[in-house]
């Protein structure tokens, strides 16, 4: 099974998307969003 883990681009893109999602979550939690 192919996972994002199995490529350079998959690793980087998943890391960046996760960062973006958490960024939005933190903005909402701190009422800055």
């Amino acid at each position: 099974m192919n996972l994002p883990h199995d490529s350079f681009a998959g690793t980087v893109v998943t890391g960046l998307v996760l960062t973006g999602v958490l960024f939005v979550v933190v903005r909402l939690l701190t009422n800055a969003g």
Binding site: L3, P4, H5, D6, S7, F8, T11, V12, T14, G15, L16, L18, T19, L22, F23, V25, V26, R27, L29, T30, N31, A32
Partner: protein, 164 residues
Amino acid sequence: MGLGTLDILARWLHIIGVLVWMGHNYANVIQTPTFKPPRLDAAADVFAAATKREHAIFRHASLVTLVTGLYMLWYRGMLIDTLALTGPFVALGLGVWIGTLMVANLWLVLWPHQRIVLGYVQAPVEQRLRCSRITFLSSRTNTILSFPALFLMIAGSHGGFLFG
């Protein structure tokens, strides 16, 4: 040496620890983007000692990173608020929890399987190959998690405008 001096030392060790630990992970992604089963023949033994040393160093660097990070939070009286994700400590706290998860992943998932791959524990070739896939996924998961962990930790102290 006062606690303040220890705090500066802790920050420096924290950064060095992350560089050693995550540097290993990033080098790994660049050198072997896709999973390749390791060579387990006699020729591979030449690299075994160096690999074991490398793994031992970055594994313990993760503990240095964790301990120094917790010390810096305790020294500032921020430890409980950060771990509890209270108010303005949400960004840093989330980074700390992700980092802690990464240490747990390294020691509780990767390391038990890595011991078999590296030959600390005797096991059939099939089992060593199966374990190498698990260590690959565990390591790569930590690399992915390091993106938000590093961002949230840096943003927590230097990017206040991002989070109001």
